[in-house]
Symmetry: C2
Subunit: 416 residues, 2 copies
Amino acid sequence: MTTAGTARETTTRTGPAAARQHTLRERNLELIARAVFEVPEPLSRAGLAAATGLARATVSTLVDQLVAARLVRELPAVNGGRAGRPAVPLVPAPRSVVGLGLEVNVDYLGARVLDLTGDVVAERVVPGAFHDSDPTAVLRRLGDLAREMSDGVAAAGMTVAGARLALPGLVDPRTGLLEVAPNLGWSSLEPVPLLGLGETEVRIANEAKLAALAELAGGSDVAAPDSFIFVSGDVGIGAAIVVDRELFLGERGWNGEIGHVVVDPAGPRCSCGAFGCLEQYAGKVAMMRAAGLPPDAPLASLVTQLADGDAALRAGDRAAPTAGDRAALPAGRALGSALADFVNLFDVATIVLGGAYTELLPWLRADVEAVLADRVLAAPFVDLEVRAAQAGPHAALTGGARQVLQAVLADPAAWV
Amino acid sequence: MTTAGTARETTTRTGPAAARQHTLRERNLELIARAVFEVPEPLSRAGLAAATGLARATVSTLVDQLVAARLVRELPAVNGGRAGRPAVPLVPAPRSVVGLGLEVNVDYLGARVLDLTGDVVAERVVPGAFHDSDPTAVLRRLGDLAREMSDGVAAAGMTVAGARLALPGLVDPRTGLLEVAPNLGWSSLEPVPLLGLGETEVRIANEAKLAALAELAGGSDVAAPDSFIFVSGDVGIGAAIVVDRELFLGERGWNGEIGHVVVDPAGPRCSCGAFGCLEQYAGKVAMMRAAGLPPDAPLASLVTQLADGDAALRAGDRAAPTAGDRAALPAGRALGSALADFVNLFDVATIVLGGAYTELLPWLRADVEAVLADRVLAAPFVDLEVRAAQAGPHAALTGGARQVLQAVLADPAAWV
DNA sequence: GCGTAATAGTTCATCCGTACAACAAATGCG
DNA sequence: CGCATTTGTTGTACGGATGAACTATTACGC
């Protein structure tokens, strides 16, 4: 009737682990590490104590461990113009522990190494055409490139904490399995072993998800939002959700497929089988076609055409709508419509547009914002913001490297 | 140049608090409490030690505190047929600490008291017509009812740990502000003070969100999923997202507005101003109208009509499509389409249909599942499941009370 | 019926990590 | 030059988890 007292072997749910003494140390190490990394101006030991609420003595011992682990570095003591012993500013250690971001996409593969300060230590991007490519060959090539860079930074005394491989497709980060990457023509394979990087821990992720993480670094002038929807437009359209600076992945990491939200069931048939998906209006191919340009033309040609249209408009030639207008308008309204659904379902008020949309934003913004204001139920009560992505090109490389370094910060005890 | 060493008063982000000694005790108390409540069969102190990894001595002191706090109760010692001292099974304490769920909806108001075992200790539901009602009068009435029940259970020696008020509208749980509840005709008010329950802590929440929490209790036969999308269909259509047994609320708790996902931009105009919202196909009014019934007829009339249609169909009268068919089909396909968008954006594979949809599910399932299988990108790789809600009527009352009790479990140290 | 093994629960010395207070170090200011 | 002020370190105290030893209570074999 009852099994009370029996040690049950079938653990129903693996709940949180019991808290021991060393759990305290681990948590506080993390607290200190995060504080050092996230504060705009460097803090001293005493400053960290005030910021975290820990005692100065405790902070001292923790900081000493982080310094010994080469995660934190002491700057020369500086006196802030006040009386008292000068403080020792503590900063993330440059060129010590680094993260490696890898990516295979349709038109390039690449690798980027970031250190804890966010600096790019090394980078290699190789253009190519990987549509319908052979995963074994491509991944071996990327693996060779990664090993080269890895050896280089190791020779300079740095430690590679891990790597993330960004792929444009349905990826399960937990199992390491790529289900399908339509634009690469890859399916049902385990990419990590094919890289041949036995020594470093590599995990895979969706390209848009990692690109979103790159946004968390913020721009030169504008701070990164804590929660946002990141939409990356290219041939396909992917999205990622960041809530409180953490990726929201759903059950398997297959969320954010905004490209196949139906905008109009009477619209053109999509490659996925449905009709009127967003991709058919705001995907790169659709936008190019609407502008009368060849589908595989570079994005720049669309941008110049749109800019020319603006110039003509400013010159007073209002009568003639340009090809650019025809291109931008349907994409903008369709994107706005899909984003309105997204915001209604998620309640995240900041939308970051990446990929091709970053450059096209001037011609999309008005339509997107108008549709959002109309269609988002909470619009009267909240400031919806549409902004351009701040991270530069190949953002997924940066995001992947950042994710590795975030993992280091989340468990600095592993490095002491 | 640098402010190192300055205790900064402007805390950039209120990160996690520093871990002290008592943090250990709090976390482990929570661990034990959750284990007692979530395990199917009652465990003894030794069983808990094995399940949590804590030492038997530690578990003993923690359990003693929980028993003293009246959160856990010891059952008579039972021997499982094995040698050794008989074990003392530990169970959630009945009729000791209780949670209070409150709700105002269009056609009723009510209150329900649940104890830690999940039993309904007391309940009052008052039918009414609160469309375009006066919030002050209605909330005072509910407050009176709540105080009555609260006094009753207090007289029986129980402690009311808190209350949750469920409302059908845009609600910000953090500020306690109701922005708008269209079907009640309420807007921009703070409902909690109007209840007049000064002594107990009351928080507000959206009705669908709390109804979703009620699902976590599971049914008599079927276990509750850990992550699911809960859709509650009535006049309006609301949804909630539960991930790992926790509500996902977005930035303000205004997510899940699936009723205004656009299914067809060429569709009928919605009250929200857009065209072809899901509500225009699968809202109760739309379904009634499509079935040729008066919009305010009870749901049961639609169900009987549909059942009659089935009977006619079984009788071989295949030539004549019934009015029920006309009602169910557009609603089912529209619902499937909006859910497909939802799943594509969220990657949560289990969908629980509540409200009116629970009873209508037999006539919706085929269409919903067919559209999902077509439109969800991950459908080939994951088992999508559509199931009926398990919680009974007025689920938000149960969910609200459960949320109060969950808060108790999350911080049992406050009760020792 | 009794000894032994087995299991549950408790007691106690120990260890670990944080807190607090006292102290040393280093600076500005009158 | 002395004093106030702030930073960083040292030493003691305290809270909480641990493991071993101990008690309590049963089943089982002889």
